[in-house]
Symmetry: C2
Subunit: 302 residues, 2 copies
Protein backbone atom coordinates (compact mmCIF):
# COMPACT_ATOMS: atom_id res chain seq x y z
CA UNK A 1 0.00 0.00 0.00
CA UNK A 2 1.01 3.62 -0.47
CA UNK A 3 3.18 5.73 1.77
CA UNK A 4 2.99 9.47 2.25
CA UNK A 5 6.15 11.27 3.32
CA UNK A 6 6.47 14.93 4.24
CA UNK A 7 9.92 16.37 4.81
CA UNK A 8 12.81 18.17 3.24
CA UNK A 9 14.43 17.96 -0.16
CA UNK A 10 17.81 19.64 -0.07
CA UNK A 11 21.20 20.12 -1.61
CA UNK A 12 23.96 18.95 0.71
CA UNK A 13 27.64 19.74 0.74
CA UNK A 14 29.38 17.12 2.81
CA UNK A 15 32.95 16.46 3.87
CA UNK A 16 33.97 13.20 5.50
CA UNK A 17 37.37 11.57 6.10
CA UNK A 18 36.70 9.67 2.86
CA UNK A 19 35.95 12.52 0.48
CA UNK A 20 33.61 15.35 -0.26
CA UNK A 21 30.50 16.14 -2.27
CA UNK A 22 29.18 19.55 -3.32
CA UNK A 23 25.50 20.46 -3.69
CA UNK A 24 24.34 16.90 -4.06
CA UNK A 25 20.74 15.80 -3.71
CA UNK A 26 19.76 15.15 -0.11
CA UNK A 27 17.09 15.95 2.47
CA UNK A 28 15.09 13.72 4.80
CA UNK A 29 12.19 13.12 2.41
CA UNK A 30 14.58 12.31 -0.42
CA UNK A 31 16.50 9.65 1.46
CA UNK A 32 13.30 8.26 2.92
CA UNK A 33 11.59 8.04 -0.48
CA UNK A 34 14.47 6.45 -2.32
CA UNK A 35 14.76 3.82 0.40
CA UNK A 36 11.05 3.10 0.85
CA UNK A 37 10.42 2.94 -2.90
CA UNK A 38 12.04 -0.51 -3.03
CA UNK A 39 9.07 -1.80 -1.06
CA UNK A 40 6.06 0.40 -1.80
CA UNK A 41 4.85 3.39 -3.78
CA UNK A 42 5.87 6.63 -2.11
CA UNK A 43 4.06 9.96 -2.39
CA UNK A 44 6.24 12.93 -1.56
CA UNK A 45 5.33 16.33 -0.13
CA UNK A 46 8.17 18.85 -0.02
CA UNK A 47 9.30 22.15 -1.50
CA UNK A 48 12.17 23.02 -3.84
CA UNK A 49 13.42 26.14 -5.60
CA UNK A 50 14.07 27.11 -9.20
CA UNK A 51 17.51 25.52 -9.03
CA UNK A 52 15.92 22.07 -8.81
CA UNK A 53 16.56 20.59 -12.23
CA UNK A 54 15.20 17.84 -14.44
CA UNK A 55 18.21 15.76 -13.52
CA UNK A 56 17.13 15.88 -9.89
CA UNK A 57 13.53 15.11 -10.77
CA UNK A 58 14.77 12.02 -12.57
CA UNK A 59 15.99 10.51 -9.28
CA UNK A 60 12.36 10.36 -8.16
CA UNK A 61 10.91 9.43 -11.52
CA UNK A 62 13.18 6.45 -11.99
CA UNK A 63 11.64 5.01 -8.82
CA UNK A 64 8.06 4.47 -7.73
CA UNK A 65 7.86 7.96 -6.20
CA UNK A 66 4.95 10.26 -6.94
CA UNK A 67 5.97 13.93 -6.79
CA UNK A 68 2.64 15.66 -7.30
CA UNK A 69 3.22 16.99 -3.80
CA UNK A 70 6.69 18.38 -4.60
CA UNK A 71 6.10 22.09 -4.88
CA UNK A 72 8.46 24.24 -6.90
CA UNK A 73 8.58 27.89 -5.88
CA UNK A 74 10.67 30.98 -6.55
CA UNK A 75 14.01 31.02 -4.81
CA UNK A 76 16.71 28.54 -3.98
CA UNK A 77 16.38 25.02 -2.60
CA UNK A 78 17.24 24.31 1.06
CA UNK A 79 21.00 23.88 1.45
CA UNK A 80 22.96 22.16 4.21
CA UNK A 81 26.71 22.07 4.55
CA UNK A 82 28.32 19.76 7.06
CA UNK A 83 31.38 17.85 8.06
CA UNK A 84 31.94 14.49 9.73
CA UNK A 85 35.17 13.63 11.49
CA UNK A 86 36.20 10.12 12.41
CA UNK A 87 33.33 9.94 14.84
CA UNK A 88 30.80 9.47 12.08
CA UNK A 89 27.88 9.50 14.51
CA UNK A 90 28.30 13.25 14.92
CA UNK A 91 27.52 15.74 12.13
CA UNK A 92 29.09 19.18 12.40
CA UNK A 93 26.93 21.74 10.64
CA UNK A 94 28.97 24.37 8.81
CA UNK A 95 26.10 26.22 7.18
CA UNK A 96 22.33 25.98 6.84
CA UNK A 97 20.38 27.99 4.28
CA UNK A 98 16.68 27.30 4.67
CA UNK A 99 15.82 29.27 1.49
CA UNK A 100 12.40 28.14 0.14
CA UNK A 101 12.08 25.71 3.06
CA UNK A 102 11.61 28.59 5.50
CA UNK A 103 8.10 29.17 4.16
CA UNK A 104 7.26 25.50 3.73
CA UNK A 105 3.55 25.03 4.33
CA UNK A 106 2.69 21.46 3.41
CA UNK A 107 -0.60 21.19 1.55
CA UNK A 108 -1.54 17.68 0.52
CA UNK A 109 -2.91 17.06 -2.97
CA UNK A 110 -6.49 15.80 -2.56
CA UNK A 111 -5.57 12.28 -3.67
CA UNK A 112 -2.88 12.04 -0.98
CA UNK A 113 -5.36 12.46 1.86
CA UNK A 114 -6.39 8.81 1.96
CA UNK A 115 -2.89 7.32 1.92
CA UNK A 116 -2.76 4.71 4.70
CA UNK A 117 0.93 4.87 5.75
CA UNK A 118 2.28 8.26 6.78
CA UNK A 119 5.83 9.27 7.64
CA UNK A 120 6.43 12.72 9.03
CA UNK A 121 10.15 13.28 8.54
CA UNK A 122 12.08 15.69 10.72
CA UNK A 123 10.43 19.11 10.28
CA UNK A 124 8.78 21.60 12.65
CA UNK A 125 6.31 19.58 14.77
CA UNK A 126 3.68 22.25 14.13
CA UNK A 127 3.91 21.42 10.42
CA UNK A 128 3.84 17.72 11.21
CA UNK A 129 0.59 18.32 13.12
CA UNK A 130 -0.76 20.32 10.18
CA UNK A 131 -0.12 17.38 7.86
CA UNK A 132 -1.96 15.05 10.22
CA UNK A 133 -4.98 17.35 10.09
CA UNK A 134 -5.12 16.83 6.34
CA UNK A 135 -4.96 13.04 6.21
CA UNK A 136 -8.28 11.27 6.66
CA UNK A 137 -7.90 7.87 8.27
CA UNK A 138 -4.28 6.82 8.21
CA UNK A 139 -3.64 3.22 9.23
CA UNK A 140 -0.19 3.89 10.65
CA UNK A 141 1.60 7.16 11.34
CA UNK A 142 5.29 7.47 12.16
CA UNK A 143 7.40 10.53 12.83
CA UNK A 144 10.97 11.59 13.40
CA UNK A 145 12.34 14.74 15.05
CA UNK A 146 15.62 16.31 16.19
CA UNK A 147 17.13 18.13 19.17
CA UNK A 148 16.35 21.52 17.61
CA UNK A 149 12.59 20.88 17.95
CA UNK A 150 12.91 19.20 21.34
CA UNK A 151 14.55 22.38 22.58
CA UNK A 152 12.41 24.89 20.66
CA UNK A 153 8.99 23.26 20.20
CA UNK A 154 8.66 20.83 23.05
CA UNK A 155 4.94 21.33 23.58
CA UNK A 156 4.04 20.90 19.91
CA UNK A 157 6.11 17.75 19.85
CA UNK A 158 4.34 16.39 22.92
CA UNK A 159 1.02 17.16 21.22
CA UNK A 160 2.14 15.43 18.01
CA UNK A 161 3.12 12.28 19.90
CA UNK A 162 -0.49 11.80 20.97
CA UNK A 163 -1.36 11.05 17.35
CA UNK A 164 1.47 8.89 16.11
CA UNK A 165 1.80 5.11 16.23
CA UNK A 166 5.56 5.03 15.91
CA UNK A 167 8.16 7.53 17.03
CA UNK A 168 11.69 7.21 15.62
CA UNK A 169 14.37 9.15 17.45
CA UNK A 170 18.12 9.18 18.11
CA UNK A 171 19.46 7.86 21.38
CA UNK A 172 20.75 11.18 22.70
CA UNK A 173 17.52 12.88 21.66
CA UNK A 174 15.44 10.26 23.46
CA UNK A 175 17.33 11.04 26.66
CA UNK A 176 16.99 14.76 26.04
CA UNK A 177 13.28 14.57 25.31
CA UNK A 178 12.59 12.53 28.44
CA UNK A 179 15.18 14.37 30.58
CA UNK A 180 16.27 10.96 31.79
CA UNK A 181 19.69 9.32 31.46
CA UNK A 182 18.40 5.73 31.71
CA UNK A 183 17.36 4.76 28.18
CA UNK A 184 14.86 2.19 29.43
CA UNK A 185 13.16 4.79 31.61
CA UNK A 186 13.30 7.39 28.84
CA UNK A 187 11.60 4.90 26.55
CA UNK A 188 8.81 4.33 29.05
CA UNK A 189 8.31 8.07 29.40
CA UNK A 190 8.06 8.50 25.63
CA UNK A 191 5.60 5.62 25.23
CA UNK A 192 3.47 7.26 27.93
CA UNK A 193 3.27 10.34 25.69
CA UNK A 194 1.26 8.43 23.12
CA UNK A 195 3.09 6.30 20.55
CA UNK A 196 2.55 2.56 20.86
CA UNK A 197 5.99 1.90 19.44
CA UNK A 198 9.29 3.66 19.93
CA UNK A 199 12.41 3.03 17.89
CA UNK A 200 15.66 4.45 19.20
CA UNK A 201 18.39 4.83 16.58
CA UNK A 202 21.95 4.34 17.82
CA UNK A 203 23.96 4.90 14.66
CA UNK A 204 26.76 2.36 14.34
CA UNK A 205 25.29 0.49 17.34
CA UNK A 206 21.99 -0.36 15.68
CA UNK A 207 18.52 0.33 17.03
CA UNK A 208 16.19 -0.60 19.87
CA UNK A 209 12.42 -1.02 19.62
CA UNK A 210 10.21 -0.60 22.67
CA UNK A 211 6.47 -1.30 22.75
CA UNK A 212 5.82 -1.43 26.49
CA UNK A 213 5.91 -5.22 26.58
CA UNK A 214 9.21 -6.22 25.06
CA UNK A 215 12.45 -4.84 23.67
CA UNK A 216 14.07 -5.69 20.36
CA UNK A 217 17.75 -4.98 19.81
CA UNK A 218 18.86 -4.72 16.17
CA UNK A 219 22.55 -4.54 15.31
CA UNK A 220 24.14 -2.26 12.75
CA UNK A 221 26.00 -3.83 9.87
CA UNK A 222 29.74 -3.66 10.58
CA UNK A 223 30.97 -1.74 7.55
CA UNK A 224 34.63 -1.35 6.81
CA UNK A 225 34.23 2.26 5.73
CA UNK A 226 31.31 4.57 6.23
CA UNK A 227 31.73 7.05 3.39
CA UNK A 228 28.93 9.42 4.29
CA UNK A 229 26.46 8.95 7.16
CA UNK A 230 24.13 11.67 5.82
CA UNK A 231 20.62 10.28 5.43
CA UNK A 232 21.27 7.10 7.41
CA UNK A 233 18.34 7.74 9.75
CA UNK A 234 15.97 8.59 6.90
CA UNK A 235 16.93 5.62 4.77
CA UNK A 236 16.47 3.48 7.90
CA UNK A 237 12.97 4.91 8.30
CA UNK A 238 12.36 4.37 4.58
CA UNK A 239 13.18 0.67 4.69
CA UNK A 240 11.18 0.30 7.88
CA UNK A 241 8.03 2.04 6.64
CA UNK A 242 8.44 0.55 3.19
CA UNK A 243 8.36 -2.97 4.54
CA UNK A 244 5.43 -2.18 6.86
CA UNK A 245 3.44 -0.72 3.96
CA UNK A 246 4.36 -3.61 1.68
CA UNK A 247 3.21 -6.23 4.18
CA UNK A 248 0.41 -4.26 5.82
CA UNK A 249 1.35 -5.93 9.08
CA UNK A 250 2.21 -3.97 12.21
CA UNK A 251 2.47 -6.99 14.52
CA UNK A 252 5.61 -7.19 16.61
CA UNK A 253 7.30 -9.97 14.61
CA UNK A 254 6.80 -8.07 11.39
CA UNK A 255 8.03 -4.82 12.92
CA UNK A 256 11.23 -6.61 13.92
CA UNK A 257 11.73 -7.66 10.30
CA UNK A 258 10.91 -4.11 9.18
CA UNK A 259 13.63 -2.74 11.47
CA UNK A 260 16.15 -5.10 9.90
CA UNK A 261 15.09 -3.95 6.42
CA UNK A 262 15.54 -0.38 7.65
CA UNK A 263 19.00 -1.26 8.92
CA UNK A 264 19.82 -2.91 5.60
CA UNK A 265 18.85 0.23 3.66
CA UNK A 266 20.81 2.49 6.03
CA UNK A 267 23.87 0.27 5.68
CA UNK A 268 23.75 0.62 1.89
CA UNK A 269 23.14 4.34 2.06
CA UNK A 270 26.28 5.14 4.05
CA UNK A 271 28.46 3.27 1.56
CA UNK A 272 28.41 6.27 -0.77
CA UNK A 273 27.76 9.98 -0.94
CA UNK A 274 24.26 11.30 -1.60
CA UNK A 275 21.89 8.69 -3.09
CA UNK A 276 24.51 6.99 -5.24
CA UNK A 277 24.08 3.59 -3.63
CA UNK A 278 20.37 3.84 -2.82
CA UNK A 279 19.54 4.54 -6.47
CA UNK A 280 21.11 1.37 -7.78
CA UNK A 281 20.11 -1.52 -5.55
CA UNK A 282 18.39 -4.72 -6.52
CA UNK A 283 15.98 -6.67 -4.32
CA UNK A 284 18.59 -9.38 -4.40
CA UNK A 285 21.16 -7.02 -2.83
CA UNK A 286 18.64 -6.16 -0.15
CA UNK A 287 17.69 -9.75 0.62
CA UNK A 288 21.31 -10.87 0.66
CA UNK A 289 22.19 -8.26 3.23
CA UNK A 290 19.09 -9.12 5.28
CA UNK A 291 20.41 -12.67 5.49
CA UNK A 292 23.80 -11.30 6.52
CA UNK A 293 22.09 -9.49 9.38
CA UNK A 294 20.50 -12.79 10.36
CA UNK A 295 23.87 -14.51 10.40
CA UNK A 296 25.48 -11.56 12.21
CA UNK A 297 23.18 -11.94 15.21
CA UNK A 298 22.55 -15.66 15.25
CA UNK A 299 23.24 -17.74 18.33
CA UNK A 300 21.80 -21.05 19.36
CA UNK A 301 19.27 -21.74 22.08
CA UNK A 302 20.49 -23.39 25.27
CA UNK B 1 37.61 -28.32 32.77
CA UNK B 2 39.61 -25.97 34.96
CA UNK B 3 40.34 -22.33 34.36
CA UNK B 4 43.40 -20.41 35.49
CA UNK B 5 43.01 -16.68 36.01
CA UNK B 6 45.78 -14.23 36.83
CA UNK B 7 44.87 -10.66 37.68
CA UNK B 8 44.07 -8.26 40.48
CA UNK B 9 42.19 -8.60 43.72
CA UNK B 10 41.39 -5.17 45.08
CA UNK B 11 39.31 -3.03 47.37
CA UNK B 12 37.22 -0.54 45.43
CA UNK B 13 35.53 2.65 46.52
CA UNK B 14 32.94 3.55 43.96
CA UNK B 15 30.47 6.37 43.51
CA UNK B 16 27.70 6.20 40.91
CA UNK B 17 24.51 8.23 40.43
CA UNK B 18 22.77 5.41 42.31
CA UNK B 19 24.89 5.22 45.44
CA UNK B 20 28.33 4.54 46.81
CA UNK B 21 30.40 1.74 48.23
CA UNK B 22 33.57 1.97 50.34
CA UNK B 23 36.44 -0.51 50.28
CA UNK B 24 34.39 -3.32 48.81
CA UNK B 25 35.87 -6.42 47.25
CA UNK B 26 36.79 -5.93 43.60
CA UNK B 27 39.59 -6.47 41.11
CA UNK B 28 39.65 -8.07 37.68
CA UNK B 29 40.47 -11.59 38.90
CA UNK B 30 37.77 -11.41 41.57
CA UNK B 31 34.97 -10.46 39.18
CA UNK B 32 36.24 -12.95 36.62
CA UNK B 33 36.40 -15.81 39.14
CA UNK B 34 33.01 -15.20 40.70
CA UNK B 35 31.43 -15.12 37.24
CA UNK B 36 33.29 -18.08 35.74
CA UNK B 37 32.74 -20.25 38.82
CA UNK B 38 29.10 -20.80 37.81
CA UNK B 39 30.39 -22.85 34.88
CA UNK B 40 33.76 -24.34 35.83
CA UNK B 41 36.34 -24.62 38.57
CA UNK B 42 38.52 -21.51 38.72
CA UNK B 43 42.10 -21.34 40.01
CA UNK B 44 43.15 -17.87 41.02
CA UNK B 45 46.60 -16.26 41.01
CA UNK B 46 46.76 -12.82 42.61
CA UNK B 47 48.25 -10.96 45.56
CA UNK B 48 46.60 -9.36 48.60
CA UNK B 49 47.81 -7.62 51.76
CA UNK B 50 47.37 -8.22 55.47
CA UNK B 51 44.06 -6.34 55.40
CA UNK B 52 42.49 -9.15 53.37
CA UNK B 53 40.23 -10.86 55.89
CA UNK B 54 38.52 -14.20 56.36
CA UNK B 55 35.29 -12.56 55.29
CA UNK B 56 36.84 -11.75 51.92
CA UNK B 57 38.29 -15.26 51.59
CA UNK B 58 34.80 -16.61 52.12
CA UNK B 59 33.63 -15.02 48.86
CA UNK B 60 36.01 -17.36 47.03
CA UNK B 61 35.47 -20.36 49.27
CA UNK B 62 31.71 -20.33 48.87
CA UNK B 63 32.26 -20.84 45.15
CA UNK B 64 34.33 -23.34 43.20
CA UNK B 65 37.40 -21.10 43.30
CA UNK B 66 40.79 -22.47 44.30
CA UNK B 67 42.96 -19.83 45.98
CA UNK B 68 46.21 -21.69 46.44
CA UNK B 69 47.62 -19.09 44.06
CA UNK B 70 46.34 -16.13 46.10
CA UNK B 71 49.46 -14.85 47.81
CA UNK B 72 49.17 -12.87 51.03
CA UNK B 73 52.08 -10.52 51.71
CA UNK B 74 52.96 -7.71 54.08
CA UNK B 75 51.30 -4.42 53.27
CA UNK B 76 47.92 -3.25 52.06
CA UNK B 77 45.78 -4.67 49.28
CA UNK B 78 45.50 -2.80 45.96
CA UNK B 79 42.92 -0.01 46.25
CA UNK B 80 41.00 1.79 43.51
CA UNK B 81 38.68 4.72 43.98
CA UNK B 82 36.50 5.87 41.13
CA UNK B 83 33.37 7.67 40.11
CA UNK B 84 30.86 7.13 37.33
CA UNK B 85 28.60 9.91 36.09
CA UNK B 86 25.50 9.32 34.00
CA UNK B 87 27.69 8.10 31.18
CA UNK B 88 28.29 4.79 32.86
CA UNK B 89 30.64 3.63 30.11
CA UNK B 90 33.31 5.99 31.44
CA UNK B 91 35.07 5.44 34.80
CA UNK B 92 36.75 8.45 36.36
CA UNK B 93 39.64 7.34 38.54
CA UNK B 94 39.96 9.39 41.72
CA UNK B 95 42.79 7.45 43.31
CA UNK B 96 44.85 4.34 42.69
CA UNK B 97 47.03 2.77 45.40
CA UNK B 98 48.89 -0.20 43.97
CA UNK B 99 50.21 -1.23 47.40
CA UNK B 100 51.19 -4.94 47.36
CA UNK B 101 50.18 -5.12 43.70
CA UNK B 102 53.18 -3.00 42.68
CA UNK B 103 55.49 -5.94 43.34
CA UNK B 104 53.15 -8.59 41.97
CA UNK B 105 55.23 -11.35 40.46
CA UNK B 106 52.86 -14.16 39.53
CA UNK B 107 54.31 -17.59 40.34
CA UNK B 108 52.02 -20.48 39.55
CA UNK B 109 51.65 -23.31 42.05
CA UNK B 110 53.00 -26.46 40.39
CA UNK B 111 49.53 -28.00 40.05
CA UNK B 112 48.28 -24.93 38.16
CA UNK B 113 50.74 -25.38 35.32
CA UNK B 114 48.64 -27.93 33.45
CA UNK B 115 45.34 -26.05 33.60
CA UNK B 116 43.89 -26.07 30.08
CA UNK B 117 41.96 -22.75 30.02
CA UNK B 118 43.88 -19.60 30.85
CA UNK B 119 42.63 -16.06 31.30
CA UNK B 120 45.17 -13.30 31.67
CA UNK B 121 43.20 -10.43 33.15
CA UNK B 122 44.28 -6.84 32.69
CA UNK B 123 47.78 -6.56 34.18
CA UNK B 124 51.19 -5.56 32.81
CA UNK B 125 51.67 -7.51 29.55
CA UNK B 126 55.18 -8.45 30.68
CA UNK B 127 53.61 -10.26 33.63
CA UNK B 128 51.02 -11.83 31.32
CA UNK B 129 53.91 -13.18 29.21
CA UNK B 130 55.61 -14.45 32.36
CA UNK B 131 52.50 -16.42 33.27
CA UNK B 132 52.40 -17.96 29.82
CA UNK B 133 55.98 -19.15 30.26
CA UNK B 134 54.87 -21.11 33.31
CA UNK B 135 51.87 -22.92 31.82
CA UNK B 136 52.69 -26.13 29.95
CA UNK B 137 50.24 -26.84 27.17
CA UNK B 138 47.17 -24.65 27.55
CA UNK B 139 44.28 -25.53 25.25
CA UNK B 140 42.97 -21.99 25.05
CA UNK B 141 44.48 -18.71 26.23
CA UNK B 142 42.59 -15.43 26.45
CA UNK B 143 43.74 -12.02 27.63
CA UNK B 144 42.45 -8.55 28.34
CA UNK B 145 44.34 -5.25 28.54
CA UNK B 146 43.74 -1.50 28.91
CA UNK B 147 44.81 1.82 27.40
CA UNK B 148 47.54 2.24 30.06
CA UNK B 149 49.44 -0.77 28.67
CA UNK B 150 48.71 0.09 25.05
CA UNK B 151 50.36 3.43 25.67
CA UNK B 152 53.17 2.26 27.95
CA UNK B 153 53.94 -1.34 26.94
CA UNK B 154 52.92 -1.58 23.32
CA UNK B 155 55.74 -3.91 22.26
CA UNK B 156 55.18 -6.37 25.12
CA UNK B 157 51.48 -6.40 24.26
CA UNK B 158 52.25 -7.10 20.61
CA UNK B 159 54.51 -9.95 21.71
CA UNK B 160 51.82 -11.34 24.01
CA UNK B 161 49.24 -11.35 21.23
CA UNK B 162 51.35 -13.87 19.31
CA UNK B 163 50.54 -16.44 21.96
CA UNK B 164 46.88 -15.90 22.76
CA UNK B 165 43.87 -17.49 21.11
CA UNK B 166 41.39 -14.83 22.17
CA UNK B 167 41.90 -11.15 22.82
CA UNK B 168 39.18 -9.23 24.68
CA UNK B 169 39.37 -5.46 24.49
CA UNK B 170 37.22 -2.33 24.73
CA UNK B 171 36.10 -0.58 21.59
CA UNK B 172 38.09 2.61 22.11
CA UNK B 173 41.15 0.56 23.07
CA UNK B 174 40.84 -1.54 19.90
CA UNK B 175 40.96 1.65 17.85
CA UNK B 176 43.84 2.98 19.90
CA UNK B 177 45.85 -0.24 19.67
CA UNK B 178 45.41 -0.42 15.89
CA UNK B 179 45.65 3.36 15.36
CA UNK B 180 42.66 3.01 13.07
CA UNK B 181 39.21 4.64 13.40
CA UNK B 182 37.38 1.98 11.39
CA UNK B 183 36.53 -0.79 13.84
CA UNK B 184 36.41 -3.43 11.10
CA UNK B 185 39.90 -2.48 9.92
CA UNK B 186 41.16 -2.26 13.50
CA UNK B 187 39.83 -5.79 14.08
CA UNK B 188 41.68 -7.09 11.03
CA UNK B 189 44.90 -5.47 12.22
CA UNK B 190 44.56 -7.05 15.66
CA UNK B 191 43.83 -10.51 14.24
CA UNK B 192 46.95 -10.14 12.11
CA UNK B 193 48.93 -9.72 15.35
CA UNK B 194 48.16 -13.29 16.35
CA UNK B 195 44.88 -14.07 18.10
CA UNK B 196 42.46 -16.20 16.10
CA UNK B 197 39.53 -14.54 17.81
CA UNK B 198 38.92 -10.97 18.86
CA UNK B 199 36.06 -9.80 21.06
CA UNK B 200 35.42 -6.08 21.22
CA UNK B 201 33.44 -4.96 24.26
CA UNK B 202 31.13 -2.00 23.73
CA UNK B 203 29.61 -1.55 27.19
CA UNK B 204 25.89 -0.81 26.97
CA UNK B 205 26.05 -1.58 23.23
CA UNK B 206 27.10 -5.19 23.61
CA UNK B 207 30.05 -6.90 21.98
CA UNK B 208 31.42 -7.90 18.58
CA UNK B 209 33.37 -11.06 17.82
CA UNK B 210 35.73 -11.22 14.83
CA UNK B 211 37.53 -14.35 13.65
CA UNK B 212 38.63 -13.29 10.17
CA UNK B 213 35.74 -15.09 8.48
CA UNK B 214 32.60 -13.73 10.11
CA UNK B 215 31.36 -11.21 12.62
CA UNK B 216 29.00 -11.83 15.50
CA UNK B 217 27.13 -8.94 17.08
CA UNK B 218 25.85 -9.52 20.62
CA UNK B 219 23.52 -7.03 22.27
CA UNK B 220 23.70 -5.78 25.83
CA UNK B 221 20.73 -6.39 28.09
CA UNK B 222 18.69 -3.19 28.34
CA UNK B 223 18.72 -2.60 32.09
CA UNK B 224 16.59 0.05 33.69
CA UNK B 225 19.34 1.08 36.09
CA UNK B 226 23.00 0.24 36.02
CA UNK B 227 23.99 0.58 39.67
CA UNK B 228 27.71 0.02 39.28
CA UNK B 229 29.51 -0.85 36.04
CA UNK B 230 32.72 -1.83 37.87
CA UNK B 231 33.75 -5.34 36.87
CA UNK B 232 31.38 -5.58 33.90
CA UNK B 233 34.19 -6.47 31.50
CA UNK B 234 35.68 -9.05 33.85
CA UNK B 235 32.38 -10.72 34.65
CA UNK B 236 31.73 -10.80 30.89
CA UNK B 237 35.07 -12.56 30.39
CA UNK B 238 34.24 -14.88 33.29
CA UNK B 239 30.96 -16.05 31.80
CA UNK B 240 32.61 -16.37 28.40
CA UNK B 241 35.61 -18.42 29.55
CA UNK B 242 33.49 -20.32 32.03
CA UNK B 243 31.18 -21.55 29.31
CA UNK B 244 34.08 -22.38 27.00
CA UNK B 245 35.80 -24.39 29.74
CA UNK B 246 32.53 -26.12 30.71
CA UNK B 247 31.83 -27.22 27.12
CA UNK B 248 35.41 -27.65 25.93
CA UNK B 249 34.25 -26.37 22.55
CA UNK B 250 35.87 -23.40 20.83
CA UNK B 251 33.95 -23.72 17.58
CA UNK B 252 32.29 -20.55 16.34
CA UNK B 253 28.72 -21.51 17.25
CA UNK B 254 29.76 -22.33 20.80
CA UNK B 255 31.78 -19.13 21.11
CA UNK B 256 28.66 -17.19 20.15
CA UNK B 257 26.78 -18.87 22.98
CA UNK B 258 29.72 -18.21 25.32
CA UNK B 259 29.57 -14.51 24.48
CA UNK B 260 25.88 -14.44 25.38
CA UNK B 261 26.65 -16.17 28.70
CA UNK B 262 29.34 -13.53 29.25
CA UNK B 263 26.81 -10.80 28.51
CA UNK B 264 24.33 -12.43 30.89
CA UNK B 265 26.89 -12.43 33.72
CA UNK B 266 27.89 -8.81 33.03
CA UNK B 267 24.25 -7.75 33.06
CA UNK B 268 23.76 -9.30 36.49
CA UNK B 269 26.99 -7.84 37.81
CA UNK B 270 26.07 -4.22 37.09
CA UNK B 271 22.78 -4.56 38.94
CA UNK B 272 24.56 -4.11 42.26
CA UNK B 273 27.74 -2.83 43.86
CA UNK B 274 30.77 -5.11 44.24
CA UNK B 275 29.92 -8.81 43.91
CA UNK B 276 26.56 -8.61 45.65
CA UNK B 277 24.60 -9.93 42.68
CA UNK B 278 27.27 -12.26 41.29
CA UNK B 279 27.52 -14.10 44.60
CA UNK B 280 23.88 -15.06 44.73
CA UNK B 281 22.79 -16.29 41.33
CA UNK B 282 21.22 -19.60 40.43
CA UNK B 283 21.73 -21.45 37.16
CA UNK B 284 18.05 -20.85 36.62
CA UNK B 285 18.56 -17.07 36.82
CA UNK B 286 21.37 -17.39 34.28
CA UNK B 287 19.41 -19.56 31.86
CA UNK B 288 16.33 -17.38 32.13
CA UNK B 289 18.33 -14.32 31.19
CA UNK B 290 20.04 -16.19 28.35
CA UNK B 291 16.59 -16.88 26.92
CA UNK B 292 15.74 -13.20 27.35
CA UNK B 293 18.80 -12.35 25.24
CA UNK B 294 17.49 -14.77 22.63
CA UNK B 295 14.11 -13.08 22.57
CA UNK B 296 15.74 -9.62 22.61
CA UNK B 297 17.52 -10.25 19.32
CA UNK B 298 15.12 -12.57 17.55
CA UNK B 299 13.79 -11.75 14.09
CA UNK B 300 12.39 -14.05 11.46
CA UNK B 301 14.02 -15.14 8.23
CA UNK B 302 12.73 -13.69 5.00
Amino acid sequence: MDILVVGSVAFDSVETPFGRAEDVLGGSATYFSASASYFAKVNLVAVVGEDFSEEHIRVFNEKDIDIKGLKRVNGRTFRWKGRYDYDLNQAHTIDTQLNVFSNFDPVLPEEYRDIPYVFLANIDPELQLKVLEQVRKPMFVACDTMNFWIEGKYDALRELLRYVDLFVINESEAREFAREPSLVKAARFILDCGPGILIIKRGEYGALMFNGRSVFSAPAYPLEDIYDPTGAGDSFAGGLMGYIAYTGDVGEENLRKAIIFGSVMASFNVESFSLDRLRNLTMNDIHTRYREFKRLTHFEDI
